[in-house]
């Protein structure tokens, strides 16, 4: 196979796959009433409908606001804490039982408490998203610090670098690629829990849009909402990957 053909082929395969799925969907939709399974065209129409009066955009912007504020909150707590716990074995040992027990609890299980503590509105959803991003970030940061090659610290000690210099100029940059992995994973888990959090108690946002559409039996809106969630999630994930690649290139071999 020559290169040109290979390139076309590699683009062709996913396109064919997608088109195949859409046709199958359209075909299947023929057997059900639209309330049960709307076809792809119905969903596109619903999407346009939602877009015309700005409803969709206000849901999107509130969702993005919750997502980013929760994510940044998680970054600002999980990374310093992870750097600390990664560096000090005693602190890590002290925290370990708590982390081991908290980690398997689905962020969704916190919802009732979140409502009790924070009332309704943005706060419970932000709390759920925060939790879902926090643990992957924390654990990745701890691991990243622990896996710093001993030789980096040996060299720093040999040249007489002070504690602060070692932390800022060796530990943080050496752990950085590992922390990036955690940030990347957390984008995925946070986005998934955004919708879940909004479905449970919020009065706005993409999750709410989906639940609310069900109350009106607007199945086409449900699917349109799901489509938007998927596409936005993909876009954020891609942007994150670009950022990661950029930083990785800067970091070279690591």
């Amino acid at each position: 196979m020559n290169i040109g053909f290979q390139k076309i082929f590699s683009h062709l395969v996913p396109t064919v796959g997608l088109l195949g799925f859409i046709s199958l969907w359209q075909f299947a939709a023929g057997f059900y009433p639209p309330v049960q399974l709307p076809g792809p065209l119905d969903v596109l129409r619903a999407l346009r409908e939602l877009m015309t009066d700005g409803v969709l955009f206000s849901h999107i912007s509130i969702s993005l606001y919750r997502f980013f504020s929760a994510y940044l909150l998680a970054v600002s707590i999980a990374i310093p804490l992870g750097l600390f716990l990664g560096s000090y074995i005693t602190a890590r040992r002290a925290m370990d039982p708590l982390l081991q027990v908290l980690r398997p609890i689905s962020p969704i299980a916190w919802f009732p408490l979140a409502v009790l503590w924070f009332g309704i509105g943005n706060a419970p959803a932000i709390f759920i998203i925060f939790l879902s991003a926090f643990f992957p970030m924390l654990l990745a940061t701890i691991d990243a610090v622990r896996q710093i090659p001993a030789i980096y610290l040996k060299v720093a000690a040999n040249f007489g670098a002070g504690k602060m210099m070692v932390f800022l100029r060796v530990v943080i940059p050496a752990a950085f690629p590992g922390i990036m992995v955690g940030l990347h994973i957390a984008v995925g888990t946070a986005w998934i829990h955004l919708v879940a959090g909004e479905m449970l108690g919020a009065q706005s946002g993409l999750g709410y849009l989906i639940v609310d559409a069900r109350n009106f039996l607007r199945t086409d809106w449900i699917l349109a909402g799901m489509l938007v969630v998927g596409l936005l999630g993909l876009a954020i994930y891609r942007a994150m990957r670009q950022l990661e690649d950029l930083l990785k290139r800067r970091w070279g071999g690591v």
Binding site: I151, Y152, K154, V155, A156, A157, N158, F159, G160, A161, G162, M165, R169, V170, P173, A174, F176, R250, W251, G252, G253, V254
Partner: protein, 264 residues
């Protein structure tokens, strides 16, 4: 390099290092030894793997503590690493997130030298190892030989009295290795640090060392110490070189055979 007359003199008395093997038995990585190294001497530790070369050099550099005995450098006991004594590793130990220049500057900034001065000094040391033009390159953009040159420049930037080198050229191709041996000799002659150089290559040891210490394993110990009287750099095809080579090689082979017997 600004060191005083008698700096970098090492003295080991009854130094040993024991580890416990998985069965809990005490194993001597290094059995008790005495050793003196004079200032500005170039000492090569040579021997088969497992004979305690790395253990010994780590004790000297203060990365590890002996199980018994005392190590002093210039009369002071060695308790921790010191920027007067820099270790150069086989796998370079460069920071991949820093350029060659940044890596060398690290040595200076660790001492509290201001950035602009550190930069000028670092560039000077990169020039000494012939890498001034690669100052902005990152480690992954450098060959193995160039990386080790950066590590040497970084060590020199700290103006150490002692250089410890643990098989620094073992990962390099033969040609690069020979060139770096010559560069190291030139630097040693110009700046006169004390050098402790670990290798498992007998020719490298004779070519570089003013003193070659042959070690033997099981347990790790000093087997033979030979003073090498050759001009530096010397001719590797010279008959005196060949004589040293014969003398050490016979002993080296015996050590190897014993090590083999032990392994079988």
């Amino acid at each position: 390099m600004g060191q005083q007359m008698t700096s970098g003199t090492m003295s080991l008395r009854g130094v040993a290092k024991y580890y416990r093997n998985p069965n809990g038995e005490r194993m001597a990585a290094l059995s008790p030894l005495d050793l003196d190294i004079a200032a500005s001497e170039f000492v090569c530790l040579v021997g088969p793997s497992g004979c305690g070369k790395t253990t010994l050099i780590n004790l000297l550099a203060g990365f590890d503590q002996p199980s018994c005995g005392s190590i002093t450098i210039d009369g002071k006991p060695v308790t921790k690493p010191d920027s007067e004594r820099i270790m150069i590793f086989q796998d370079y130990g460069l920071y991949p997130w820093k350029s060659a220049l940044g890596n060398v500057m690290f040595a200076l900034e660790a001492k509290g030298v201001a950035k602009s001065e550190a930069k000028a000094t670092a560039l000077h040391h990169l020039e000494i190892v012939g890498l001034k033009d690669s100052a902005e390159r990152y480690p992954h953009q450098l060959s193995g030989g160039m990386k080790q040159r950066v590590a040497i420049a970084r060590a020199l930037a700290a103006s150490p009295q002692v250089l410890f080198m643990d098989e620094p050229f073992a990962a390099l191709d033969a040609f690069t290795r020979l060139r770096l041996q010559d560069e190291l000799l030139r630097i040693w002659q110009e700046q006169q640090p004390t050098v402790v150089f670990v290798t498992h290559d007998l020719d490298e040891a004779i070519y570089l060392g003013s003193k070659v210490i042959l070690m033997a394993p099981y347990p790790g110990r000093l087997r033979k110490i030979v003073d090498i009287q050759l001009p530096r750099p010397c001719d590797r095809t010279d008959s005196v070189f060949a004589a040293y080579r014969r003398e050490l090689f016979r002993e080296f082979q015996l050590v190897h055979e014993e090590a083999m017997d032990y392994a079988i």
